[in-house]
Symmetry: C2
Subunit: 587 residues, 2 copies
């Protein structure tokens, strides 16, 4: 076997000269580098290890950037990055942070066409590229890579359906690793299994049913076979699906054995798979334990996930314990929310556990199916605020604007673990309409003094009355920050009134009216200001003498940001809140 | 044939006693009544005329409300309403307005399970009902009716995919009338056509591919055959698709001949099909004419619709004129926006024409695919404001909160036809990022004095400076209202400053700073206040001496509302704005 120096690979041109043996050696070297980086740095383990060979074959056969390759969800694009000018970020530990975990035009706009982090979008995006090519009269290949559970998403199916009608070159590579993040769900995957078991010969075949030519590659980690398949479809004059059977986590035994655990991981021991830092107690765990307890005593309590059970604390053993009261609909947020609406109508107590960024995909279902029908389904929103996921495609600070401005939805914002549990229970048991609970960001805060109430349906602020000069209305995990700000202000001789608004969907106007003659009210929320809670307060008090100052984030997409710095810049720290108040009070 | 008195039918029980001849006579009587009402009153013509027999057969075979029937989009549910206690609203012209055009639990919560007006939701909702049934251990049938172009929507495909795995009774009735609102689009429909042409025997069969049993009914307007098919699947113990081939508009020759024109209609002459009131010049027409002009001189200009070409002015003849520069993706908003992102990346100038209420279904595509990637695609938003569609499922006053709070999107709000055209042109030609243009609500307003500028990318208010006491910031079509309010105020001795903010995504802080010492600023927008533009102004000026009063709608779903009354209640009239100002100025 040739000796491969990965750092000699600067662009796909450098692998086009290789023979199969050299390509295989390259794959082996890439896989070793990936395992080294993933173990030390964390990231998407299984998806990347499974796609090493297919990515090499794609870049060997197709001529990017002239040919367009769009990677769905793009968490499997590490090998692509290595082959397109970013090798040092994968072999030099000092430079591991040079690249993001997703395709990113800011890094390389020639090869990374889109910033992508949500699933199921690649086919639609590729149809647009194909249309542009056709109207321009050019002839490059357009390739959409999709798989890893993404194919079942509604947008992917819309794209697949439309792509079939293009009538020109359009290549969909279905990366079938037999998995989603967890198990696959849905009838589509039964068909994929049938196709795998018949070496692609079976009917029914969903791709042929939609109008695609179809080609199956059983050995989807075999470079020579992949090259053959891709060469066969290169420059094809109509839509085709190349269905490749890959192995998630290939080459790392712990990842091959524990595919769900190693879909994504923090740094780990590559031999044992043990995480290098112990996992802290978190709200996810509180949520899952509480739901299991509720399920055991009430058979109408049901928890739904859209393909991310682990992210809401439902490990495989907990899923087994929950039995039929746990539903994973696959990576299909629209289905999750629509189904929850039907379940509520049918008398169940559904609880949808979902990251705020992914719930964006069910905005219309929240509005049209749940809210208009005012059905008592509950949702628990994860990864919110500044301390969520710092990738621009997974930001947690847009949830308040998009959820709280839909009529009929009550969006509760607990400040501590005691209030979180109380609100989750109340959300399940209430019968008035849809209720979402915002999981606080950051570490778990316990506050035994938090006032728990029996009914969260009405706007009723929790108030810690101070003097009559300054009040701080602090949403969710900002409340603990405001308490520390109050300490600073007290040291300066001011006694602030502290308010936990409990929800961000309605104003306690009775309470606000008592503040109309204060000097200043500060609102603090760990979300963007635009469309948020503070602006509602400011507008309500627009004619009152009191000044209102809203603290929150700017309306912008941040990427790979430092949460501490962002909090400081937005004055969402004890010092920031206190100095904001003082700068007004001491004018 | 028996004589049928429709008013003798009070519930489905009354048709269960009938023989086939009586059922056929009932169908004939219902069809006559429908044509009479539709011609006089307007409504969804083709969808309802096509589903008379299938609805009778469904209610004959299944035992609603114990058995659950969910009608997708529910614009075809008139016969269902007639059979479930609401016959007078279809035979007595005085009572035509007793019912809405969609299933509505407020009218009849036993038979109308959900308020539904968007497409593609019925299967998901029904999976929830089925899950509730299964956990409760009961055995009623759960039936989802879908068709008329709805099946290609992502949520429907997610639901279909998941429903296949239920393992219990689950009946999907696919109403295949060979049409969407306009033509069908997508590979799926090629498969439906193949199935029709082979009497349901062909492979590939997308339903079987997903795991459903399958049954085809070629004569989907033949009650006896429909009854046979439904009886065969009643109480089935697994998921099944019943694919029925119906004829849209059956029984009304003009509707059979002109299916797209008669999908929905204002009142019309049932013989000639001519509308009873001439159509006024409207923004839809301005949009389509302008786009055709642009397309002719620039081959990169492309217009996309998600299944509603007529609603954006693209009649069949205009679609022919636009050729390959017009794309109808079917009722698939996610695909439309995702494809537009790809087209913009590929160098085209895409313009997505879409109703605000339907764009909700592509919220994540706006954010994740367009805005994060900051791609210069344009959108034109229709049916906005108070004067849009007054059904609770089609409201036009939520667009500002959900669009304007996404970073990087510029949402322009023209005040008149001159500005509308200028902004559409600029949105197509600019290269900075996604730009949406809000089609003004109500009748076309011409204002030759409107100041047109060369660059709309920066926040720059159009200001008609008055005295220094009161300013009115009026969004879009509210600007003309504010001009009339100014006349009233002038008569009272106040000279207001009038501001057209031009967009609702950013503040012209330089201009606002000049208003900080005014007595009062009034903001007026024909959308809900929560998350809207006025609240941004109020928050920005929260510490300034000036009072800010935001006028707009309450955060609530209105149904079948009277636009004039709603505008009056919200003070979005010349008198309302003027009296709001005066009540403050004359305190």
């Amino acid at each position: 076997m040739d000796t491969i120096n990965l750092l000699d690979i600067h662009s796909p041109q450098d692998i086009k000269k290789m023979d199969v043996a050299q390509l295989n050696a390259t794959a082996a070297a890439i896989r070793s580098a990936l395992i080294r980086k993933l173990a030390a740095h964390g990231g998407h383990v299984g998806p990347n290890l499974g796609m090493v060979e297919a990515t090499i074959a794609l870049h060997y056969v197709f001529n990017a950037p002239t040919d367009k390759i769009v990677f769905d969800v793009s968490h499997q694009a590490y090998t692509h990055k290595m082959l397109t000018g970013r090798m040092p970020a994968f072999v030099d530990a000092e430079r591991y942070d040079d690249v993001t975990g997703y395709t990113d035009p800011h890094e390389n706009s020639e090869y990374d066409l889109f910033s992508i982090g949500h699933t199921s979008t690649s086919i639609s995006l590729a149809t647009g590229l194909a249309k542009a090519r056709d109207l321009a009269g050019s002839h490059e290949n357009v390739v959409a890579v999709i798989g890893d559970g993404s194919l079942g998403g509604g947008m992917a199916l819309e794209g697949l359906d439309f792509g079939a009608t293009l009538g020109t070159n359009f290549i969909v590579v279905v990366n079938d690793n037999e998995m989603s993040i967890a198990e696959n769900h849905g009838g589509l995957y039964a068909d994929l299994r049938l196709l795998r078991h018949t070496n692609g010969t079976a009917e029914p075949n969903i791709f042929r049913a939609m109008g695609y030519s179809y080609r199956y590659v059983e050995y989807g980690n075999d470079i020579a076979r992949l090259i053959k398949a891709f060469e066969d479809v290169k420059d094809i004059n109509h839509p085709v699906v190349v269905h490749i059977h890959t192995m998630k986590g290939l080459g790392l035994p712990v990842a091959e054995a524990h595919k769900e655990r190693f879909h994504w991981s923090m740094p780990f021991d590559p031999e044992t798979g043990a995480p290098l830092t112990p996992e802290a107690d978190d709200y996810t765990d509180i949520f899952a334990r509480q739901m299991l307890t509720r399920m055991a005593s009430d058979h109408t309590v049901t928890v739904l996930t859209a393909g991310t059970p682990g992210a809401i604390g439902f490990t495989p053993s907990r899923r087994r314990a929950a039995r039929k009261q746990f539903v994973d609909v696959g990576i299909c947020e629209q289905q999750a929310v629509g189904m929850a609406a039907g379940m509520a109508k049918g008398g169940l107590k559904p609880m949808v556990g979902v990251a705020g960024t992914f719930l964006q995909r069910a905005y219309d279902q929240l509005s049209h199916d749940l809210a208009i029908n005012n059905l008592p389904a509950a949702l628990c929103i994860f990864h919110t605020g500044i301390y969520g996921i710092p990738d621009e495609t997974h930001l947690g600070f847009f949830d308040i604007p998009f959820i709280s401005n839909i009529p009929n939805i009550l969006y509760l914002t607990p400040t501590c673990s005691e209030e979180y549990s109380a609100m989750l229970d109340w959300a399940l048991d209430q019968t008035t309409g849809p209720v979402a609970v915002r999981t606080p960001g950051g570490a778990v805060i316990s506050n035994p003094d938090c006032e728990i109430i029996a009914d969260y349906s009405q706007p009723r602020y929790m108030i810690r009355r101070g003097g009559d000069q300054v009040a701080i209305i602090a949403v969710g995990s900002m409340y603990a920050v405001a308490e520390k700000a109050a300490d600073i202000l007290r040291a300066k001789g001011y006694e602030p009134t502290l308010i936990n608004p409990r929800n961000v969907t309605a104003l306690d106007t009775t309470a606000l009216d008592t503040l109309a003659e204060y000097r200043i009210i500060i609102t603090a929320e760990d979300g963007i200001l635009d469309g948020g809670y503070g602006q509602k307060v400011a507008a309500y008090l627009g004619e009152a003498p009191v000044a209102v100052r809203c603290l929150g984030l700017k309306k912008e997409f941040l990427n790979e940001y430092n949460a501490t710095k962002v909090a400081e810049q937005a004055c969402l720290t004890p010092e920031g809140i206190a100095s904001t108040a003082l700068s007004y009070l001491e004018r």
